[in-house]
């Protein structure tokens, strides 16, 4: 078994691969290498910072608040911002329809969306970064099983 954090990341990627038809299954996890333009539009799922604390006095569970980021990469011409939002619709609805990410988490809530553009190349590049606050619980001595 893997760390629950990895299970969450993989589960989100699997959900988006099926649900976000606009990216034609181009969904990556923790993509850090550059994307060539023939791979766009695409999505990459990242798990960033995580704060954790004891769940309750006398209990050996840990509650974890994870920042899960979903990057949407698009290159387009004049309809660019429409395309970003069209993909965001599919991402947000897919995430909302699996609020507990397959039962791994207690909740996953979209907390911010940041969209940036760059127009220096042959087509406009845009990235939408959707950040989710994800809360999950593990035993203090078993981080491979979600509670």
């Amino acid at each position: 078994m893997a760390h629950v954090r990895q299970q969450i990341r993989d589960a989100v990627a699997t959900t988006l691969t099926t649900a976000v038809t606009l990216v034609s299954s181009r969904v990556f996890t923790t993509r850090v290498h550059p994307l060539n333009e023939d791979l766009l539009p695409a999505i990459s799922v990242y798990t960033g910072s995580e704060a954790s604390d004891r769940y309750n006095i006398g209990v050996t569970d840990v509650t974890r608040n994870l920042s899960l980021e979903i990057d949407i990469y698009v290159r387009e011409t004049s309809t660019f911002d429409d395309d970003v939002d069209a993909i965001a619709v599919q991402v947000e609805e897919a995430m909302a329809n699996d609020f507990t990410i397959g039962g791994l988490v207690k909740s996953s809530v979209l907390t911010s969306t940041a969209i940036q553009f760059d127009g220096e190349a042959d087509q406009i590049l845009g990235v939408a970064k959707l950040t989710y606050a994800v809360r999950y619980v593990t035993a203090i001595n078993d981080v491979e099983t979600a509670k």
Binding site: R31, L35, E37, E69, R75, T77, A121, I124, L125
Partner: protein
């Protein structure tokens, strides 16, 4: 220092060297076409490698340049997005692939 004669600039855009003939607004336009692949960053964790097409030519050949005009190079159609006059009679056009 500005070069005084537009014809002198033609020597910089010799077809037998690095220049090519494009179709600009249905007419021939001689210039140098660059299409370097560059890493672009728009705020994502990963960069994106994209082509960066530019066409450099005499300013006098494109005196009526405007955004949205078309330029065809090597059978690929581009739209004019922006341009930079360097002040010496040479202009570099930023292109968007259609």
């Amino acid at each position: 220092m500005a070069i005084g004669f537009a014809n002198d600039l033609l020597s910089l855009f010799a077809i037998e060297d690095f220049a090519t003939t494009a179709t600009y607004q249905s007419a021939d336009l001689i210039g140098i076409f660059d299409n370097e692949t560059v890493p672009m960053d728009a705020g994502g964790t990963a960069q994106v490698h994209q082509e960066q097409p530019r066409f450099t030519c005499r300013t006098t050949d494109i005196s009526s340049i405007a955004a949205g005009q078309t330029l065809v190079v090597n059978s690929v159609t581009y739209n004019v997005i922006a341009w930079i006059h360097d002040g010496t009679g040479v202009t570099t056009i930023q292109l968007e692939k259609q």
